[in-house]
Amino acid sequence: MNSIENYLQTLDKKNLIMLYLSVVVVFLIIYYNFNYSYLNEKIKTGSDKIALLKSKYAKNEIYEKKLARLKKLTQSLKKENLSLSEDLRYLNVLIKTSDVLHINDRKFLNILEEVLFKASINDIQASYTISKELNDYKIYQIDINGTFDASEFGNFNEFIKNMESVKSINEIKFLKFYLNKDKKNVYFEIKYYLWGLL
């Protein structure tokens, strides 16, 4: 230590200041290269990485929101599904228990029998054509062509009334009657439909 002090004491003021300045410069160089450049660069890289990671981190919210929306939607659809199922079940029960909404061959034949019976009671001469159609509905069709005495219009009227009062969904789709040229007989055409669900 003494030798250093002795050496320093030999330096004049200018050289001493130069020595001190060179120490300061060395520290400045070290500071600039290590603290300012290297460490600051690392800190900046770290900050950038953190910013990038944070931006990635925020994106899950979209999925959470979407899932929440889907859950809500699913819930409402489930409720709707339940309600619709209930409605359908109710409708099915209603249909199954209904006498009117269904028709089968047996029932049709009974009705046909009754129609024929009423026709004979009411003195109506006619030919009958029956057909069955299964499309959206079960439809039994009776085409009746015939005549009756013009003076017996009341009976014809009764015949019509009887046909329309059967306990089944019925429809006289087509009814045509007109006085023959002889003005004695009335010619008629009836298209009589019986409807039922499949």
């Binding site: 250093i4 002090e5 320093l8 004491q9 330096l11 001493l16 020595l19 001190y20 120490v23 300061v24 520290f27 070290i30 500071y31 290590f34 603290n35 460490l39 690392k42 800190i43 770290g46 900050s47 990485k49 953190i50 990671l53 944070k54 990635k56 981190y57 994106k59 899950n60 999925y63 979407k66 899932l67 889907l70 939607l73 699913t74 659809l77 489930k78 709707e80 599904n81 619709l84 199922s85 409605d87 359908l88 409708l91 099915n92 249909i95 509905y137 009227n157 019509i160 009334k161 329309e164 969904i169 006289i172 087509f174 009814l175 045509k176 009657f177 007109y178 006085l179 409807w195 669900l197």
Partner: protein, 476 residues
């Protein structure tokens, strides 16, 4: 601050104007001591008055080495006192060999490491006036201790000169005794003849002191003339030991010479000279020309160039390290944050995968539910439509009723029905009536509308042979 004075292996501590004598031990404070005149080479000479003041010391040093017989091979601590006269400077040079100084204070330096101020004994008497409340005059102080004797002259409190005197040691030699034995004799028997059985011893002692004081007298007379002083008025006699009968014997002698001969004494139990030296040193510590110390306080490390350099290095290193440490801490924080974020992101990625899976599952569930619901709706709608359709058929107006309505109105207007043609909801009637009853058809149509039939029209009217044939159409 404490002021310490070292003497005779003891230390006097001056604090708040109070002096305490203690054994030697380190204390913080200003340290001082006194060196005897025997170690000092006193050279008195004159220098021309025209020398510039800042050159005085250089010229004096030249003189001291050239004319003052100083050894060039030895180091000296030299102090100068310059007294300006009309034509010259009277220079008193006091030189002490540094190795003598080192030897003299070696024991104290082991304890204190440094001595701030070392005065010379001859100057110390200056402080006596204040301590003893004595008005300064032209005074001579005689100093005798085991090792040396000198006289110190002060003119109105200002030091003028110092001269050495015969030592007790030479008396001891004459008596063929040791210094301590001689001092013991002086103390006990002194200068009282009756105390001695051996007259020869007394004669030697008496002769020594007679010569001693004669020399004092001669030196005073010579110096008074040399230093252009008026008459010396007082002599203060100090000895570090008592000399029995000295004052009785020589008081009268000095009285006859017209000089007061007084004992050097102060109002203290401590040694009078040491006590005076404490105050002298304390008062003059700043005066470099009185200071013979070559043992300065070590300069604080931070004041040395090495210290400054090392401090700069340390400071620079510290600043860079501190800054680097802070940045390192920040980096560590960042690393922790990154690790946390990465862990969170990993967790989030897993969650996201699960979320995506769940979303997919829900979407497919949603799709199937939508399809299912749509199917259900369609089924319900289909069934409802069919049921409604059938109900509509069931509740639609009956043919029988329609025929009854038509017949009722035909009868009312006396109209005849030729043809009835109902096709689905549309009905065409062909009616006949007399020409005169033609308006009945219009009335018939009007009334038919009351039953709720719509779009009633008569599209074909034939007038043939007075018979009115009309085709009336309407919708249910």
């Amino acid at each position: 601050m404490k002021f310490i004075y070292l003497s005779e292996n003891k230390q006097y501590v001056l604090e708040n104007d109070r002096v305490v004598k203690k054994d030697l031990s380190y204390e913080k404070g200003l340290v001082s001591a006194c060196i005897g005149y025997k170690n000092i080479l006193n050279i008195t000479f004159k220098l021309p008055r025209d020398i510039e003041e800042d050159m005085l010391e250089i010229e004096a040093e030249k003189y001291v080495y050239n004319e003052g017989t100083l050894d060039y091979n030895k180091e000296y601590k030299i102090n100068y006192i310059f007294k300006p006269y009309e034509d010259y400077y009277m220079v008193e040079a006091y030189a002490i060999q540094t190795d003598k100084l080192e030897k003299e204070f070696e024991k104290y330096l082991k304890i204190f490491k440094y001595i701030d101020f070392i005065s010379a004994k001859p100057f110390v008497f200056e402080a006596y006036y204040d301590i003893a409340s004595v008005i300064p005059k032209y005074d001579v102080f005689l100093y005798i201790d085991n090792n040396e004797s000198f006289l110190s002259c002060f003119a109105n409190g200002e030091f003028v000169f110092v001269k050495s005197l015969s030592r007790i040691e030479s008396l001891a030699k004459q008596l063929d005794k040791t210094t301590d034995e001689t001092i013991k004799i002086l103390n006990e028997k002194g200068l009282i003849k009756e105390n001695y059985e051996d007259e020869e011893t007394f004669n030697i002692i008496e002769s020594f002191f007679s010569q001693f004081f004669m020399k004092v007298n001669n030196l005073i007379n010579y110096s008074v003339s040399y230093y252009s002083l008026p008459k010396i008025e007082r002599i203060f006699f100090y000895s570090s030991f008592d000399i029995n009968g000295l004052f009785d014997r020589y008081e009268e002698f000095w009285k006859l010479s017209g000089v007061e001969f007084k004992k050097y004494e102060i109002n203290s139990d401590y040694d009078a000279f040491d006590y005076t030296a404490v105050f002298f040193n304390a008062k003059n510590i700043e005066k470099e020309f009185l200071n013979f110390s070559i043992f300065p306080r070590p300069v604080s490390f931070y004041k040395t160039r090495t210290g400054i350099l090392i401090l700069m290095l340390a400071l620079g290193f510290l600043l860079i390290s501190a800054d680097a440490y802070l940045k390192y801490e920040k980096l560590m924080q960042q690393e922790n944050e990154i690790a946390k974020l990465e862990a969170n992101i990993k967790r989030h990625d897993k969650e996201r995968k699960m979320l995506k899976k769940a979303i997919k599952r829900y979407e497919s569930q949603l799709k199937s539910l939508t399809i299912e619901n749509s199917g259900l709706k369609n089924q319900i709608s289909d069934i409802s439509d069919k049921v409604l359709f059938l109900k509509e058929i069931q509740t639609s107006s009956k043919c029988y009723n329609q025929i009854q309505d038509v017949l009722k109105e035909l009868k009312k207007y006396d109209l005849k029905l030729i043809s009835f043609n109902k096709n689905s909801n549309h009905t065409d009637l062909i009616l006949i009536t007399d020409f005169k009853n033609a308006s009945s058809i219009a009335n018939f149509m009007k009334n038919i509308s009351k039953y709720g039939y719509k779009n009633i029209s008569s599209t074909k009217i034939l007038n043939k042979n007075g018979i009115y044939i009309s085709k009336v159409s309407y919708d249910e």
